[in-house]
Protein backbone atom coordinates (compact mmCIF):
# COMPACT_ATOMS: atom_id res chain seq x y z
CA UNK A 1 0.00 0.00 0.00
CA UNK A 2 1.55 3.24 -1.11
CA UNK A 3 0.71 5.98 1.31
CA UNK A 4 0.23 8.87 -1.04
CA UNK A 5 -3.00 9.98 0.59
CA UNK A 6 -3.04 11.49 4.06
CA UNK A 7 -4.74 8.43 5.51
CA UNK A 8 -6.51 8.67 8.86
CA UNK A 9 -4.38 7.54 11.75
CA UNK A 10 -6.12 4.25 12.34
CA UNK A 11 -5.57 3.25 8.76
CA UNK A 12 -1.87 3.89 8.76
CA UNK A 13 -0.75 0.61 10.18
CA UNK A 14 -3.45 -1.41 8.52
CA UNK A 15 -2.11 -2.22 5.10
CA UNK A 16 1.61 -2.33 5.63
CA UNK A 17 3.29 -5.50 6.71
CA UNK A 18 5.90 -5.09 9.43
CA UNK A 19 8.46 -7.07 7.45
CA UNK A 20 10.15 -5.70 4.36
CA UNK A 21 9.22 -2.10 5.00
CA UNK A 22 12.19 -1.22 7.11
CA UNK A 23 12.77 1.74 9.29
CA UNK A 24 11.90 4.38 6.77
CA UNK A 25 8.25 3.34 6.61
CA UNK A 26 8.15 3.83 10.35
CA UNK A 27 9.70 7.27 10.19
CA UNK A 28 7.32 8.23 7.41
CA UNK A 29 4.30 7.19 9.43
CA UNK A 30 5.65 8.97 12.50
CA UNK A 31 6.02 12.15 10.47
CA UNK A 32 2.34 12.09 9.64
CA UNK A 33 1.48 11.98 13.33
CA UNK A 34 1.30 15.58 14.48
CA UNK A 35 1.63 14.80 18.20
CA UNK A 36 4.68 12.65 17.59
CA UNK A 37 6.37 15.35 15.50
CA UNK A 38 5.82 17.98 18.20
CA UNK A 39 6.92 15.55 20.91
CA UNK A 40 10.12 14.47 19.18
CA UNK A 41 10.94 18.07 18.22
CA UNK A 42 10.53 19.29 21.81
CA UNK A 43 12.54 16.35 23.07
CA UNK A 44 15.30 17.09 20.57
CA UNK A 45 15.48 20.66 21.89
CA UNK A 46 15.71 19.45 25.51
CA UNK A 47 18.42 16.92 24.62
CA UNK A 48 20.34 19.49 22.58
CA UNK A 49 20.23 21.98 25.47
CA UNK A 50 21.42 19.30 27.88
CA UNK A 51 24.32 18.29 25.64
CA UNK A 52 25.34 21.87 24.91
CA UNK A 53 24.79 23.09 28.48
CA UNK A 54 28.20 24.79 28.88
CA UNK A 55 27.76 26.53 25.51
CA UNK A 56 24.21 27.85 25.93
CA UNK A 57 24.60 29.05 29.50
CA UNK A 58 26.72 31.91 30.70
CA UNK A 59 26.85 31.24 34.43
CA UNK A 60 28.00 28.56 36.83
CA UNK A 61 25.23 26.19 37.94
CA UNK A 62 26.65 25.65 41.44
CA UNK A 63 28.89 28.56 42.41
CA UNK A 64 27.24 30.98 44.83
CA UNK A 65 27.12 34.69 43.97
CA UNK A 66 25.43 36.50 46.89
CA UNK A 67 25.27 40.02 45.37
CA UNK A 68 23.07 38.69 42.56
CA UNK A 69 20.59 36.79 44.71
CA UNK A 70 16.83 36.77 44.13
CA UNK A 71 16.95 38.85 40.97
CA UNK A 72 13.81 38.75 38.85
CA UNK A 73 13.84 37.68 35.21
CA UNK A 74 15.89 40.11 33.10
CA UNK A 75 17.87 40.00 29.84
CA UNK A 76 20.95 38.94 31.84
CA UNK A 77 19.14 36.26 33.84
CA UNK A 78 16.02 35.56 31.87
CA UNK A 79 14.72 33.05 34.40
CA UNK A 80 16.01 35.17 37.29
CA UNK A 81 18.45 34.11 40.00
CA UNK A 82 17.91 32.00 43.12
CA UNK A 83 18.49 32.76 46.79
CA UNK A 84 22.22 32.09 46.34
CA UNK A 85 22.56 34.31 43.29
CA UNK A 86 22.81 31.43 40.83
CA UNK A 87 21.30 31.82 37.37
CA UNK A 88 18.08 29.78 37.32
CA UNK A 89 18.21 29.20 33.55
CA UNK A 90 21.71 27.74 33.86
CA UNK A 91 20.59 25.45 36.64
CA UNK A 92 17.48 24.36 34.74
CA UNK A 93 19.59 23.50 31.67
CA UNK A 94 22.09 21.57 33.77
CA UNK A 95 19.13 19.88 35.44
CA UNK A 96 18.30 18.21 32.14
CA UNK A 97 21.74 16.58 32.33
CA UNK A 98 20.57 14.90 35.53
CA UNK A 99 16.90 14.15 34.89
CA UNK A 100 17.23 12.70 31.38
CA UNK A 101 19.90 10.12 32.29
CA UNK A 102 18.11 9.33 35.56
CA UNK A 103 14.93 8.56 33.64
CA UNK A 104 16.78 6.53 31.03
CA UNK A 105 18.79 4.50 33.51
CA UNK A 106 15.75 3.80 35.69
CA UNK A 107 13.83 2.60 32.64
CA UNK A 108 16.81 0.52 31.50
CA UNK A 109 16.90 -1.23 34.87
CA UNK A 110 13.15 -1.84 34.75
CA UNK A 111 13.15 -2.99 31.13
CA UNK A 112 16.06 -5.42 31.45
CA UNK A 113 15.00 -7.03 34.72
CA UNK A 114 11.30 -6.93 33.85
CA UNK A 115 11.88 -8.44 30.41
CA UNK A 116 14.04 -11.28 31.68
CA UNK A 117 11.45 -12.10 34.35
CA UNK A 118 8.64 -11.92 31.81
CA UNK A 119 10.50 -14.17 29.34
CA UNK A 120 11.19 -16.75 32.03
CA UNK A 121 7.65 -16.67 33.38
CA UNK A 122 6.01 -16.84 29.97
CA UNK A 123 8.31 -19.43 28.45
CA UNK A 124 8.71 -21.90 31.28
CA UNK A 125 5.22 -21.52 32.73
CA UNK A 126 4.13 -23.57 35.73
CA UNK A 127 6.35 -23.16 38.77
CA UNK A 128 8.57 -20.42 37.37
CA UNK A 129 5.55 -18.49 36.16
CA UNK A 130 3.78 -18.92 39.50
CA UNK A 131 6.79 -17.77 41.48
CA UNK A 132 7.57 -14.76 39.29
CA UNK A 133 3.99 -13.58 39.07
CA UNK A 134 3.42 -13.85 42.84
CA UNK A 135 6.43 -11.60 43.39
CA UNK A 136 5.05 -9.18 40.79
CA UNK A 137 1.65 -9.22 42.52
CA UNK A 138 3.31 -8.25 45.77
CA UNK A 139 5.26 -5.45 44.09
CA UNK A 140 2.03 -4.18 42.56
CA UNK A 141 0.56 -3.87 46.04
CA UNK A 142 2.87 -0.86 46.48
CA UNK A 143 1.42 1.64 44.04
CA UNK A 144 3.50 4.33 42.37
CA UNK A 145 6.11 5.95 44.48
CA UNK A 146 5.48 3.66 47.49
CA UNK A 147 7.61 0.82 46.07
CA UNK A 148 10.36 3.34 45.44
CA UNK A 149 10.01 4.53 49.06
CA UNK A 150 10.58 0.95 50.26
CA UNK A 151 13.78 0.71 48.22
CA UNK A 152 15.04 4.14 49.28
CA UNK A 153 14.26 3.25 52.90
CA UNK A 154 16.52 0.21 52.57
CA UNK A 155 19.32 1.65 50.42
CA UNK A 156 19.37 5.19 51.81
CA UNK A 157 18.66 8.56 50.23
CA UNK A 158 20.77 9.44 47.19
CA UNK A 159 20.27 10.15 43.52
CA UNK A 160 21.80 6.82 42.56
CA UNK A 161 19.44 4.93 44.85
CA UNK A 162 16.50 6.89 43.46
CA UNK A 163 17.36 5.57 40.00
CA UNK A 164 17.46 2.03 41.33
CA UNK A 165 14.27 2.56 43.32
CA UNK A 166 12.30 3.98 40.41
CA UNK A 167 13.70 1.25 38.18
CA UNK A 168 12.58 -1.49 40.54
CA UNK A 169 9.13 0.03 40.97
CA UNK A 170 8.58 -0.07 37.18
CA UNK A 171 9.60 -3.72 36.75
CA UNK A 172 6.05 -5.17 37.00
CA UNK A 173 4.81 -3.33 33.91
CA UNK A 174 7.52 -4.90 31.75
CA UNK A 175 7.15 -8.36 33.22
CA UNK A 176 3.42 -8.37 32.58
CA UNK A 177 3.77 -7.05 29.04
CA UNK A 178 6.56 -9.45 28.06
CA UNK A 179 4.95 -12.45 29.72
CA UNK A 180 1.71 -11.84 27.84
CA UNK A 181 3.51 -11.51 24.51
CA UNK A 182 5.59 -14.62 25.17
CA UNK A 183 2.50 -16.65 26.02
CA UNK A 184 1.05 -15.93 22.60
CA UNK A 185 4.37 -16.09 20.70
CA UNK A 186 5.15 -19.47 22.25
CA UNK A 187 2.29 -21.04 20.32
CA UNK A 188 3.77 -20.12 16.95
CA UNK A 189 4.85 -22.92 14.64
CA UNK A 190 8.29 -21.47 14.13
CA UNK A 191 8.95 -21.80 17.86
CA UNK A 192 8.10 -25.49 17.65
CA UNK A 193 10.28 -25.74 14.58
CA UNK A 194 13.16 -24.07 16.38
CA UNK A 195 12.77 -26.46 19.27
CA UNK A 196 12.73 -29.50 17.00
CA UNK A 197 15.95 -28.41 15.31
CA UNK A 198 17.52 -28.63 18.73
CA UNK A 199 18.06 -24.94 19.53
CA UNK A 200 18.76 -24.19 23.15
CA UNK A 201 16.07 -22.41 25.20
CA UNK A 202 18.14 -19.23 25.42
CA UNK A 203 18.50 -19.08 21.64
CA UNK A 204 14.78 -19.65 21.12
CA UNK A 205 13.91 -17.01 23.72
CA UNK A 206 16.18 -14.30 22.46
CA UNK A 207 16.21 -14.99 18.73
CA UNK A 208 12.67 -16.13 18.06
CA UNK A 209 10.44 -14.91 20.87
CA UNK A 210 11.97 -11.62 22.00
CA UNK A 211 11.59 -9.90 18.58
CA UNK A 212 7.81 -10.26 18.93
CA UNK A 213 7.93 -8.17 22.06
CA UNK A 214 10.18 -5.37 20.89
CA UNK A 215 7.48 -3.09 19.43
CA UNK A 216 5.22 -2.83 22.48
CA UNK A 217 8.28 -2.67 24.69
CA UNK A 218 9.71 0.35 22.89
CA UNK A 219 6.37 2.10 23.39
CA UNK A 220 6.19 1.21 27.06
CA UNK A 221 9.81 2.21 27.59
CA UNK A 222 9.32 5.60 25.94
CA UNK A 223 6.22 6.35 27.95
CA UNK A 224 7.82 5.18 31.18
CA UNK A 225 10.84 7.45 30.77
CA UNK A 226 8.36 10.28 31.39
CA UNK A 227 6.87 8.74 34.50
CA UNK A 228 10.35 7.77 35.73
CA UNK A 229 11.52 11.38 35.43
CA UNK A 230 8.42 12.51 37.35
CA UNK A 231 8.94 9.91 40.08
CA UNK A 232 12.65 10.64 40.44
CA UNK A 233 12.03 14.40 40.60
CA UNK A 234 9.32 13.73 43.20
CA UNK A 235 11.71 11.73 45.37
CA UNK A 236 14.36 14.43 45.09
CA UNK A 237 11.70 16.99 45.97
CA UNK A 238 11.00 14.99 49.13
CA UNK A 239 14.70 15.16 50.00
CA UNK A 240 15.27 11.48 49.26
CA UNK A 241 17.28 11.92 46.06
CA UNK A 242 19.67 14.52 44.73
CA UNK A 243 20.95 16.80 47.46
CA UNK A 244 21.64 20.55 47.15
CA UNK A 245 23.50 22.21 45.56
CA UNK A 246 23.05 19.77 42.66
CA UNK A 247 20.83 21.39 40.04
CA UNK A 248 18.23 18.62 40.04
CA UNK A 249 14.76 19.87 39.09
CA UNK A 250 12.85 18.31 41.99
CA UNK A 251 15.44 19.44 44.53
CA UNK A 252 15.38 22.96 43.03
CA UNK A 253 11.63 23.12 43.51
CA UNK A 254 11.97 22.07 47.12
CA UNK A 255 14.69 24.71 47.55
CA UNK A 256 12.52 27.45 46.12
CA UNK A 257 9.36 26.70 48.10
CA UNK A 258 10.01 29.26 50.83
CA UNK A 259 10.29 32.00 48.20
CA UNK A 260 7.00 31.25 46.47
CA UNK A 261 5.51 34.54 47.60
CA UNK A 262 8.45 36.82 46.91
CA UNK A 263 10.57 35.18 44.18
CA UNK A 264 8.21 32.87 42.34
CA UNK A 265 10.61 32.07 39.49
CA UNK A 266 12.96 30.00 41.65
CA UNK A 267 10.46 27.16 42.02
CA UNK A 268 8.35 27.78 38.93
CA UNK A 269 11.04 27.45 36.25
CA UNK A 270 12.34 23.98 37.15
CA UNK A 271 8.72 22.77 37.44
CA UNK A 272 8.07 24.07 33.96
CA UNK A 273 11.14 22.18 32.73
CA UNK A 274 9.88 18.91 34.22
CA UNK A 275 6.40 19.33 32.78
CA UNK A 276 7.71 20.26 29.32
CA UNK A 277 10.18 17.36 29.18
CA UNK A 278 7.65 14.79 30.36
CA UNK A 279 5.02 16.19 27.99
CA UNK A 280 7.46 15.88 25.07
CA UNK A 281 8.32 12.30 25.99
CA UNK A 282 4.66 11.32 26.42
CA UNK A 283 3.68 12.84 23.07
CA UNK A 284 6.54 11.03 21.36
CA UNK A 285 5.52 7.81 23.11
CA UNK A 286 1.85 8.20 22.16
CA UNK A 287 2.93 8.73 18.56
CA UNK A 288 5.14 5.64 18.63
CA UNK A 289 2.27 3.63 20.06
CA UNK A 290 -0.07 4.71 17.27
CA UNK A 291 2.53 3.66 14.71
CA UNK A 292 3.81 0.50 16.34
CA UNK A 293 0.61 -0.80 17.94
CA UNK A 294 0.64 -4.48 17.05
CA UNK A 295 -3.15 -4.70 17.15
CA UNK A 296 -3.37 -2.16 14.35
CA UNK A 297 -0.66 -3.90 12.36
CA UNK A 298 -2.14 -7.36 12.48
CA UNK A 299 -5.58 -6.28 11.40
Amino acid sequence: MQQTLPAPRAMLGAGSTPAGRGRWALVRRLRQNRGAVVGFALLAVVIALALAAPLVTTHDPIKINPPARNLGPSPEHWMGTDQFGRDVFTRVVYGARISLPVGLIAVAIAAVVGTVLGLLAGYYGRLVDGAVMRVIDIMLAFPGILMALVVVAILGASLQNVMIAVGISEIPRYTRLVRGSVLSARENLYVDAARITGLRDAAILFRHILPNVVGPMVVLATLSVGSAILAAAGLSFLGLGAQPPRPEWGAMLADGRQFLGSHWWIATMPGFAIALTVLAINMAGDGLRDVLDPRLQSR
Binding site: A141, F142, I145, A153, L230, G234, F237, L253, L260
Partner: protein, 314 residues
Protein backbone atom coordinates in the same frame (compact mmCIF):
# COMPACT_ATOMS: atom_id res chain seq x y z
CA UNK B 1 -20.87 -14.18 42.60
CA UNK B 2 -20.14 -15.94 45.88
CA UNK B 3 -17.67 -18.30 44.25
CA UNK B 4 -15.99 -15.33 42.61
CA UNK B 5 -15.84 -13.46 45.89
CA UNK B 6 -14.32 -16.46 47.64
CA UNK B 7 -11.60 -16.94 45.01
CA UNK B 8 -10.85 -13.24 44.96
CA UNK B 9 -10.52 -13.04 48.74
CA UNK B 10 -8.35 -16.15 48.86
CA UNK B 11 -6.05 -14.71 46.20
CA UNK B 12 -5.60 -11.59 48.28
CA UNK B 13 -4.21 -13.45 51.28
CA UNK B 14 -0.82 -14.43 49.77
CA UNK B 15 -0.39 -10.87 48.52
CA UNK B 16 -1.01 -9.50 52.00
CA UNK B 17 1.45 -12.02 53.44
CA UNK B 18 4.01 -10.98 50.84
CA UNK B 19 3.46 -7.33 51.64
CA UNK B 20 4.03 -7.98 55.33
CA UNK B 21 7.14 -10.03 54.54
CA UNK B 22 8.58 -7.23 52.42
CA UNK B 23 7.97 -4.55 55.06
CA UNK B 24 9.36 -6.91 57.70
CA UNK B 25 12.53 -7.29 55.64
CA UNK B 26 13.11 -3.51 55.54
CA UNK B 27 14.56 -3.60 59.04
CA UNK B 28 16.81 -6.54 58.15
CA UNK B 29 18.04 -5.34 54.79
CA UNK B 30 19.25 -1.94 55.92
CA UNK B 31 22.97 -1.68 56.43
CA UNK B 32 23.78 -1.61 60.12
CA UNK B 33 22.32 -3.04 63.28
CA UNK B 34 18.91 -1.76 64.46
CA UNK B 35 19.88 -2.22 68.10
CA UNK B 36 23.04 -0.13 67.73
CA UNK B 37 21.08 2.48 65.82
CA UNK B 38 18.53 2.65 68.59
CA UNK B 39 21.16 2.88 71.32
CA UNK B 40 22.95 5.57 69.38
CA UNK B 41 19.80 7.63 69.34
CA UNK B 42 18.72 7.05 72.91
CA UNK B 43 22.10 7.12 74.60
CA UNK B 44 21.87 10.81 75.46
CA UNK B 45 24.63 11.99 73.16
CA UNK B 46 27.00 9.08 73.60
CA UNK B 47 28.18 7.52 70.39
CA UNK B 48 26.92 4.07 69.54
CA UNK B 49 30.35 2.59 70.25
CA UNK B 50 30.34 3.73 73.89
CA UNK B 51 27.31 1.72 74.86
CA UNK B 52 28.12 -1.19 77.10
CA UNK B 53 27.97 -4.62 75.54
CA UNK B 54 25.51 -5.67 78.19
CA UNK B 55 22.99 -2.96 77.32
CA UNK B 56 23.41 -3.79 73.67
CA UNK B 57 22.80 -7.49 74.24
CA UNK B 58 19.77 -6.75 76.43
CA UNK B 59 18.27 -4.57 73.75
CA UNK B 60 18.86 -7.17 71.04
CA UNK B 61 17.10 -9.70 73.24
CA UNK B 62 14.26 -7.28 73.97
CA UNK B 63 13.75 -6.48 70.29
CA UNK B 64 13.85 -10.17 69.50
CA UNK B 65 16.79 -9.71 67.15
CA UNK B 66 18.49 -12.86 68.46
CA UNK B 67 15.64 -15.11 67.34
CA UNK B 68 15.87 -16.89 64.01
CA UNK B 69 14.39 -14.82 61.18
CA UNK B 70 11.26 -16.98 60.67
CA UNK B 71 10.43 -16.64 64.37
CA UNK B 72 10.96 -12.88 64.17
CA UNK B 73 8.67 -12.70 61.16
CA UNK B 74 5.97 -14.74 62.91
CA UNK B 75 6.17 -12.42 65.89
CA UNK B 76 6.08 -9.36 63.65
CA UNK B 77 3.04 -10.69 61.86
CA UNK B 78 1.08 -11.58 65.00
CA UNK B 79 1.78 -8.20 66.58
CA UNK B 80 0.94 -6.34 63.38
CA UNK B 81 -2.35 -8.21 63.13
CA UNK B 82 -3.15 -6.93 66.62
CA UNK B 83 -2.24 -3.42 65.56
CA UNK B 84 1.06 -3.44 67.44
CA UNK B 85 3.85 -2.06 65.25
CA UNK B 86 6.44 -1.58 67.95
CA UNK B 87 7.82 1.71 69.21
CA UNK B 88 9.31 4.58 67.29
CA UNK B 89 13.11 4.73 67.35
CA UNK B 90 12.76 8.49 67.52
CA UNK B 91 10.17 9.20 70.18
CA UNK B 92 9.75 5.77 71.78
CA UNK B 93 5.99 6.23 71.40
CA UNK B 94 4.00 3.28 70.11
CA UNK B 95 3.96 3.54 66.33
CA UNK B 96 0.27 2.70 66.33
CA UNK B 97 -0.57 6.00 68.06
CA UNK B 98 1.29 8.12 65.53
CA UNK B 99 -0.37 6.30 62.65
CA UNK B 100 -3.83 6.55 64.18
CA UNK B 101 -3.27 10.30 64.51
CA UNK B 102 -2.37 10.95 60.90
CA UNK B 103 -4.37 8.30 59.06
CA UNK B 104 -7.71 10.20 59.04
CA UNK B 105 -6.02 13.16 57.31
CA UNK B 106 -4.70 10.95 54.52
CA UNK B 107 -8.03 9.15 54.10
CA UNK B 108 -9.81 12.50 53.89
CA UNK B 109 -7.34 13.85 51.34
CA UNK B 110 -7.40 10.72 49.19
CA UNK B 111 -11.17 10.35 49.18
CA UNK B 112 -11.88 13.98 48.33
CA UNK B 113 -9.07 13.97 45.74
CA UNK B 114 -10.49 10.82 44.18
CA UNK B 115 -13.96 12.32 44.08
CA UNK B 116 -12.63 15.41 42.30
CA UNK B 117 -10.60 13.29 39.87
CA UNK B 118 -13.62 11.19 38.92
CA UNK B 119 -15.87 14.23 38.66
CA UNK B 120 -13.50 16.37 36.56
CA UNK B 121 -11.97 13.51 34.60
CA UNK B 122 -15.34 11.86 34.02
CA UNK B 123 -16.90 15.07 32.76
CA UNK B 124 -14.00 15.83 30.44
CA UNK B 125 -13.95 12.24 29.17
CA UNK B 126 -17.66 12.17 28.39
CA UNK B 127 -17.55 15.57 26.69
CA UNK B 128 -14.58 14.50 24.59
CA UNK B 129 -16.25 11.23 23.59
CA UNK B 130 -19.50 12.94 22.61
CA UNK B 131 -17.60 15.42 20.45
CA UNK B 132 -15.24 12.88 18.99
CA UNK B 133 -12.75 14.20 16.43
CA UNK B 134 -13.79 17.82 16.88
CA UNK B 135 -11.76 20.61 18.39
CA UNK B 136 -13.55 19.99 21.71
CA UNK B 137 -12.13 16.48 21.76
CA UNK B 138 -8.63 17.63 20.85
CA UNK B 139 -8.68 20.42 23.41
CA UNK B 140 -9.90 18.13 26.18
CA UNK B 141 -7.28 15.51 25.38
CA UNK B 142 -4.57 18.16 25.18
CA UNK B 143 -5.54 19.31 28.68
CA UNK B 144 -5.35 15.76 29.97
CA UNK B 145 -1.97 15.26 28.29
CA UNK B 146 -0.63 18.33 30.07
CA UNK B 147 -2.17 17.04 33.32
CA UNK B 148 -0.30 13.77 32.89
CA UNK B 149 3.02 15.56 32.55
CA UNK B 150 2.53 17.95 35.47
CA UNK B 151 4.44 17.12 38.62
CA UNK B 152 1.96 17.32 41.50
CA UNK B 153 4.38 19.35 43.59
CA UNK B 154 4.60 21.97 40.87
CA UNK B 155 0.84 22.18 40.44
CA UNK B 156 0.56 22.50 44.22
CA UNK B 157 3.01 25.41 44.18
CA UNK B 158 1.07 27.13 41.43
CA UNK B 159 -2.20 26.75 43.34
CA UNK B 160 -0.53 28.12 46.47
CA UNK B 161 0.82 31.09 44.52
CA UNK B 162 -2.55 31.93 43.04
CA UNK B 163 -5.05 31.09 45.76
CA UNK B 164 -3.08 31.67 48.96
CA UNK B 165 -0.44 34.23 48.15
CA UNK B 166 -2.08 36.40 45.49
CA UNK B 167 -5.78 36.09 46.20
CA UNK B 168 -5.44 35.09 49.88
CA UNK B 169 -8.57 32.98 49.65
CA UNK B 170 -7.21 29.78 51.15
CA UNK B 171 -4.46 28.82 53.57
CA UNK B 172 -1.34 27.39 51.92
CA UNK B 173 -0.36 24.96 54.65
CA UNK B 174 -1.69 23.15 57.66
CA UNK B 175 -4.13 20.39 58.43
CA UNK B 176 -6.90 21.92 60.45
CA UNK B 177 -10.36 22.76 59.14
CA UNK B 178 -11.88 22.12 55.74
CA UNK B 179 -10.28 25.17 54.09
CA UNK B 180 -6.88 23.51 54.45
CA UNK B 181 -8.20 20.48 52.59
CA UNK B 182 -9.28 22.29 49.43
CA UNK B 183 -5.94 23.05 47.80
CA UNK B 184 -4.26 19.69 48.52
CA UNK B 185 -7.33 17.77 47.37
CA UNK B 186 -7.57 19.92 44.24
CA UNK B 187 -3.90 19.27 43.46
CA UNK B 188 -4.30 15.53 43.86
CA UNK B 189 -7.59 15.45 41.99
CA UNK B 190 -6.45 17.57 39.05
CA UNK B 191 -3.32 15.50 38.49
CA UNK B 192 -5.32 12.26 38.49
CA UNK B 193 -8.17 13.64 36.38
CA UNK B 194 -5.97 13.56 33.24
CA UNK B 195 -5.75 9.77 33.37
CA UNK B 196 -9.41 9.42 34.29
CA UNK B 197 -10.49 11.62 31.37
CA UNK B 198 -8.59 9.48 28.87
CA UNK B 199 -9.96 6.23 30.25
CA UNK B 200 -13.54 7.49 30.45
CA UNK B 201 -13.29 8.79 26.89
CA UNK B 202 -12.23 5.45 25.46
CA UNK B 203 -14.80 3.53 27.53
CA UNK B 204 -17.54 5.88 26.43
CA UNK B 205 -16.54 5.54 22.77
CA UNK B 206 -16.60 1.78 23.18
CA UNK B 207 -20.11 1.88 24.67
CA UNK B 208 -21.44 4.27 22.02
CA UNK B 209 -20.52 1.67 19.40
CA UNK B 210 -22.63 -1.01 21.09
CA UNK B 211 -25.77 -2.31 19.45
CA UNK B 212 -28.05 -1.39 22.31
CA UNK B 213 -27.16 2.25 21.79
CA UNK B 214 -28.04 1.97 18.11
CA UNK B 215 -31.27 0.21 19.09
CA UNK B 216 -32.15 2.91 21.58
CA UNK B 217 -31.58 5.55 18.92
CA UNK B 218 -33.49 3.53 16.32
CA UNK B 219 -36.57 3.27 18.48
CA UNK B 220 -36.67 7.04 18.59
CA UNK B 221 -35.41 7.83 22.06
CA UNK B 222 -34.09 11.33 22.54
CA UNK B 223 -30.32 11.71 22.38
CA UNK B 224 -30.17 12.81 26.01
CA UNK B 225 -31.95 9.68 27.22
CA UNK B 226 -29.76 7.49 25.03
CA UNK B 227 -26.63 9.04 26.48
CA UNK B 228 -27.66 9.20 30.10
CA UNK B 229 -29.68 6.03 30.50
CA UNK B 230 -28.02 3.69 28.05
CA UNK B 231 -24.50 4.80 27.35
CA UNK B 232 -23.36 6.51 30.53
CA UNK B 233 -24.73 3.85 32.82
CA UNK B 234 -22.78 1.13 31.09
CA UNK B 235 -19.70 3.25 30.72
CA UNK B 236 -19.68 3.75 34.47
CA UNK B 237 -18.95 0.09 35.21
CA UNK B 238 -15.35 0.11 33.95
CA UNK B 239 -14.91 3.43 35.70
CA UNK B 240 -15.20 1.53 38.98
CA UNK B 241 -11.97 -0.27 38.10
CA UNK B 242 -10.37 3.04 37.26
CA UNK B 243 -11.33 4.25 40.72
CA UNK B 244 -9.53 1.28 42.25
CA UNK B 245 -6.36 1.87 40.30
CA UNK B 246 -6.48 5.62 40.79
CA UNK B 247 -6.86 5.15 44.50
CA UNK B 248 -3.33 3.75 44.48
CA UNK B 249 -2.04 6.64 42.41
CA UNK B 250 -3.69 9.11 44.78
CA UNK B 251 -2.37 7.32 47.85
CA UNK B 252 1.11 7.54 46.38
CA UNK B 253 0.46 11.13 45.29
CA UNK B 254 -0.54 12.00 48.84
CA UNK B 255 3.06 11.35 49.87
CA UNK B 256 4.17 14.34 47.82
CA UNK B 257 1.09 16.54 48.22
CA UNK B 258 1.18 16.25 52.01
CA UNK B 259 4.75 17.50 51.94
CA UNK B 260 3.91 20.36 49.56
CA UNK B 261 1.16 21.64 51.84
CA UNK B 262 2.92 20.69 55.10
CA UNK B 263 -0.15 18.63 55.92
CA UNK B 264 -0.25 15.84 58.44
CA UNK B 265 -0.67 12.42 56.95
CA UNK B 266 0.63 8.93 56.39
CA UNK B 267 2.78 9.85 53.40
CA UNK B 268 4.56 12.69 55.11
CA UNK B 269 5.09 10.51 58.17
CA UNK B 270 6.64 7.82 55.96
CA UNK B 271 9.02 10.27 54.28
CA UNK B 272 10.06 11.90 57.55
CA UNK B 273 10.64 8.50 59.11
CA UNK B 274 12.86 7.45 56.22
CA UNK B 275 14.91 10.64 56.58
CA UNK B 276 15.22 10.05 60.35
CA UNK B 277 15.93 6.33 59.98
CA UNK B 278 12.97 5.57 62.23
CA UNK B 279 12.53 2.10 60.80
CA UNK B 280 9.59 0.76 62.84
CA UNK B 281 7.66 3.83 61.69
CA UNK B 282 8.77 3.31 58.07
CA UNK B 283 7.65 -0.32 58.19
CA UNK B 284 4.27 0.50 59.64
CA UNK B 285 3.41 3.46 57.42
CA UNK B 286 4.28 1.53 54.27
CA UNK B 287 2.50 -1.60 55.48
CA UNK B 288 -0.67 0.35 56.28
CA UNK B 289 -0.63 2.10 52.90
CA UNK B 290 -0.07 -1.10 50.91
CA UNK B 291 -2.65 -3.11 52.84
CA UNK B 292 -5.13 -0.27 52.42
CA UNK B 293 -4.50 -0.26 48.69
CA UNK B 294 -4.89 -4.05 48.39
CA UNK B 295 -8.13 -4.02 50.38
CA UNK B 296 -9.64 -1.14 48.39
CA UNK B 297 -8.87 -3.01 45.19
CA UNK B 298 -10.46 -6.13 46.61
CA UNK B 299 -13.61 -4.12 47.35
CA UNK B 300 -13.51 -2.58 43.88
CA UNK B 301 -13.24 -5.99 42.20
CA UNK B 302 -16.07 -7.38 44.28
CA UNK B 303 -18.34 -4.44 43.56
CA UNK B 304 -17.41 -4.72 39.90
CA UNK B 305 -18.54 -8.34 39.83
CA UNK B 306 -21.70 -7.31 41.62
CA UNK B 307 -22.42 -4.49 39.16
CA UNK B 308 -21.69 -6.58 36.10
CA UNK B 309 -23.05 -10.12 36.49
CA UNK B 310 -21.25 -11.28 33.34
CA UNK B 311 -17.96 -11.37 35.20
CA UNK B 312 -16.68 -14.76 36.25
CA UNK B 313 -13.34 -15.74 37.63
CA UNK B 314 -11.48 -17.80 35.12
Amino acid sequence: MLAYARTRVLLTLPVLLGVSLLTFMILHLIPGDPARMLLGDMGGGSAAGDVSDEAYENLREELGLNDPLPVQYANYLTSALQGDFGRSFQTNRPVRESIAEVLPYTVQLTVVGLGLAVLIGGLLGVIAALHRNTWVDSATMAVSLVGLAMPSFWLGFILIQVFSLRLAWLPSTGSGDLTTLILPAATLGLVASGVVARLVRSTMLEVLRQEYVTTARAKGLGERIVIVRHALRNALIPVVTIVGLQFGALLAGAVIVETVFARRGLGRLAVESILRRDYPMVQATILVAAVGYVLVNLLVDLSYAWLDPRIKYS
